[in-house]
């Protein structure tokens, strides 16, 4: 199960993820991110995220692509140890970094 709470702080949207992000929950996640526009920053707060796999990572990559199109930045925060290692292994952080440098 995945719970996504959305909060708007100025031009920043903070999505708090709670639960697991896999093929069974990416649709819930996508429905929250697809409509994002007119913002300058998206924060994915992963404090409550227990598990993510390649399908979930794929969904985050989609958001990163979307951010390039619509001109906002993406920040991943509070990922637990297991998850941040995984994201590191697949190079997600490097991708985000490279893209946002390129955009600037």
């Amino acid at each position: 199960m995945l719970n996504v709470k959305s909060r708007l702080e100025g031009k920043t949207v903070r999505l708090s993820l709670e639960g697991v992000l896999d093929i069974s929950t990416v649709d819930t996640f996508n429905s929250q991110t697809e409509q994002l526009s007119g913002i300058s920053e998206l924060v994915l707060d992963m404090a409550g995220l227990e598990f993510i796999d390649s399908s979930g990572i794929g969904a985050i990559l989609q958001v990163v692509r979307l951010s390039q199109e619509r001109g906002f930045t993406v920040n991943l925060e509070n990922a637990n140890e297991n998850i941040s290692e995984l994201l590191n292994t697949v190079g997600l952080f490097q991708i985000i970094e490279a893209l946002q440098k390129g955009a600037n």
Partner: protein, 708 residues
């Protein structure tokens, strides 16, 4: 023929003949040369009738009957009608009763028109300006009476309601009435008893005008036919490639056209619908062939790919001049009335009518091709199809003939199959390294229960009984049949092609025993090669095996099994694994990695197959997670890239799955084939020092990273 219809025909015939004998005696002999000349012109026009683009037949001959009625008299007009009848019927078919009935009907109509003319104050034989409305009235009476009499027979033959038939005839007849009236009035006005030159020039003018009109319409219709035939042949070529039943597009095109005609749509609309129906599956040519040749259900990924064909087809057709409307119908031909279709998911009347018609025609053809009944088709009303459109389809009586009729293929299709069979055989022969072995191939001709060789001698053939069944099938279908048969005694395998040519069927045998054996060996060799290469580059972490070797791994304690059918099963499977891990003292990282591996393997099943199963076995401390599916397997040549390259996937997804598996598991055993893939994840549930070390290193590294 029902009795009332017979009675009706005799009644009309007797009345007609009685009227005829009454009027024949009243013909003015001095008019005869002129009447006969006009009769000849009328007769020629009757012979060269005009087919209007909407299919109605229009002949200029009756114009002369009206004119003669107005400027000579009713008996003379009767003569014209007899000449017309003589020209039209015997030349087509020498059926006496049909001729008599038709003649009678013409006579009754023209006499009624004549009396109508007299009744409103006209005097046959003396036509003036003031008589124009009277003549128009008389022509209307003639037309309406003609429709009234004819509808009795037509409605019976086409099994439709009398009144509906009549209304339809009147609607179709309005244009013809206007043209006939205009020309009749013009011709009648030009008649001067004492100076007939003007009249004959006008008559000639009408005559030539009609021939020119006929030529123009014929040209137009021919052009359209050529266009359609070209398109039909093209679609049949694609159908062969896509394993769609041959002639599907052609049939859907014709059914859709009939529906559109029945709904009285405009000619432009009917043509657009016909073209769209013909090309409705064009987009499939763009997609990968294997999706269409696959026999089992499609995976999610394949389904998504398949669904694109409607839009791709529409975009392709849009580029063709004049087919913009047709393109829109193609785009929406997979939409459903209840909104469950694709690509847009629109419902009801928001779907363009043309697209709804094509959808119905498409379903109709599918259902009748599978030999189902109209009830199966009617059941789709309101869900998949527009209920009103369905009703119209079911109301078209002669539609049911269409699939059978089309099952007899046109010559072009026959040639195509023949060419395909021959070229395919040729290709195989030339490409084969075992060309010399093909010397054993055999060509025989089957006729009247006997097989003969090229020299005409009766010979014995392998698998005789089965081949006879094939040959009969080819002859009845008038299409190529291919089958691979094994002869039990010798164990030889033959690839057999049957190609009908008229009554005879040519049968070509290829002995493919050796080539199959060779291919099998070759495949084994390739498999072994891959197995070794993959094993060594993954340092023994990935082992490629045969399915039966997988079974050997199912030792120890069987803990549980779980089906993989829906996305939620990914989480369920993880939960099962988690239960096993709970009792073990493992670092959280290892725990996470095992769950990650489970998640990836199970997700792969959903992405590349339609269903699967996960089973857990324990041998001592070794946990084996078996995940198997019914998909079409991993292509051997894709295997190194799928397994080794991070980020590579055959289905455009985020291809981290496999490389993550390799990273996190102790060993992976994989078996893949056309009937499915099984992956075994092996992991020792002990906290080895080695694992602790690697975990610590990654943790350290991580702390130094600040993520933007």
């Amino acid at each position: 023929m029902p009795r009332y219809l017979k009675t009706y025909i005799y009644l009309v015939t007797i009345t007609g003949m009685a009227v005829l004998s009454f009027f024949l005696l009243r013909i003015e002999i001095s008019f005869l040369p002129a009447i006969l000349s006009i009769g000849i012109i009328a007769g020629v026009l009757e012979k060269f009738d005009i087919e209007l683009p909407n299919g109605t037949i229009f002949s200029g001959s009756t114009i002369f009957a009206f004119v003669v009625m107005a400027v000579y008299g009713i008996p003379e007009a009767v003569v014209i009608e007899i000449i017309i009848s003589l020209v039209s019927i015997p030349l087509i078919k020498s059926e006496r009763i049909k001729f008599l009935y038709n003649t009678s009907q013409y006579i009754i109509c023209i006499v009624a028109a004549g009396y109508a003319y007299v009744w409103v104050g006209g005097v046959p034989g003396d036509f003036h300006w003031s008589d124009i409305p009277r003549l128009l009235f008389a022509i209307a009476v003639d037309s309406l009476l003609n429709f009234t009499l004819l509808s009795v027979i037509i409605s019976r033959l086409s099994e439709r309601k009398y009144f509906a038939t009549w209304i339809e005839m009147v609607q179709d007849g309005v244009f013809i009435y206007l043209v006939s009236s205009l020309l009749s009035v013009r011709l009648a006005l030009s008649y001067e008893p004492h100076d007939q030159l003007q009249f004959w020039i006008e008559a000639l003018f009408v005559f030539v005008a009609f021939l020119a009109l006929r030529y123009a319409f014929a040209l137009f219709i021919n052009l359209r036919k050529t266009y359609l035939t070209t398109m039909e042949s093209l679609t049949q070529l694609t159908e062969n490639k896509l394993s769609i039943s041959g002639g599907h597009a052609t049939r859907v095109g014709r059914i859709a056209r009939k529906m559109a005609e029945k709904m009285k749509l405009s000619q432009d609309e009917i043509d657009a619908i016909h073209y769209a129906a013909l090309l409705h599956d064009l987009g499939k040519a763009y997609l990968e062939e294997k999706i269409f040749q696959k026999r089992g259900p499609l995976t999610l990924e394949e389904e998504r790919e398949y669904r694109k064909h409607a839009e791709i087809g529409a975009d392709m057709v849009k580029e063709i001049n004049g087919l913009a409307k047709a393109a829109e119908y193609i785009r929406y031909h997979h939409e459903c009335w209840d909104g469950t279709g694709f690509p847009a998911g629109i419902s009801g009347e928001r779907i363009p009518l043309g697209a709804r018609i094509i959808a119905a025609a498409d379903q109709y053809d599918h259902i009748f091709y599978k030999k189902k009944t109209p009830a199966d088709f009617a059941a789709l009303a309101g869900t998949k199809l527009d209920p009103q459109v369905v009703e119209i389809v079911l109301g078209i009586a002669d539609l049911q003939e269409e699939p059978r009729e089309m099952a007899m293929p046109a010559t072009i299709e026959e040639k195509l199959i023949e060419n395909l069979v021959i070229s395919e055989a040729r290709k195989r022969v030339y490409q084969s390294q075992l060309l010399d072995k093909f010397g054993a191939s055999l060509i025989v001709h089957y006729n009247n229960g006997e097989f003969r060789n090229e020299a005409g001698d009766s010979i014995d053939i392998p698998c005789r009984e089965q081949v006879i069944t094939l040959v009969e099938k080819a002859r009845i279908q008038q299409g190529g049949v291919r089958e691979i048969l094994e002869e039990a005694q010798s164990g030889k395998i033959y690839d057999i092609y049957c190609v009908p040519t008229g009554d005879e069927v040519s049968v070509i045998f290829f002995d493919v025993t050796d080539i199959l054996e060779y291919e099998k060996k070759q495949e084994e060799r390739v498999r072994n090669l891959y197995r070794e290469v993959i094993y060594s580059v993954t340092q023994g972490k990935l082992l490629l095996v045969e399915q039966k070797e997988i079974e050997l791994l199912k030792t120890g304690v069987h803990i549980s099994s779980h089906p993989i059918l829906a996305k939620t099963d990914v989480a369920n499977c993880r939960r099962q694994v988690q239960e096993v891990l709970e009792s073990r003292p493992l670092p959280p990282k290892v725990r996470y990695n095992i769950l990650l591996g489970t998640s990836e393997a199970v997700t792969n099943v959903l992405k590349h197959a339609t269903e699967g199963q996960m089973s857990l076995y324990m041998v001592g401390d070794l946990l084996r997670i078996f995940v198997s599916d019914n998909g079409s397997g991993i292509d051997l040549s894709e295997l190194p890239r799928t397994t080794l390259m991070a980020g590579y996937s055959t289905k455009h997804s985020v291809g981290w799955g496999f490389s993550l598996l390799l990273k996190t598991m102790d060993r992976i055993v994989l078996s893949t084939g056309p009937r499915g893939t099984t992956i075994v994840l092996e992991i020792k549930l002990v906290d080895t020092p080695e694992k602790v070390v690697t975990n610590n290193i990654t943790t350290l590294k991580e702390e130094n990273v600040r993520y933007a």
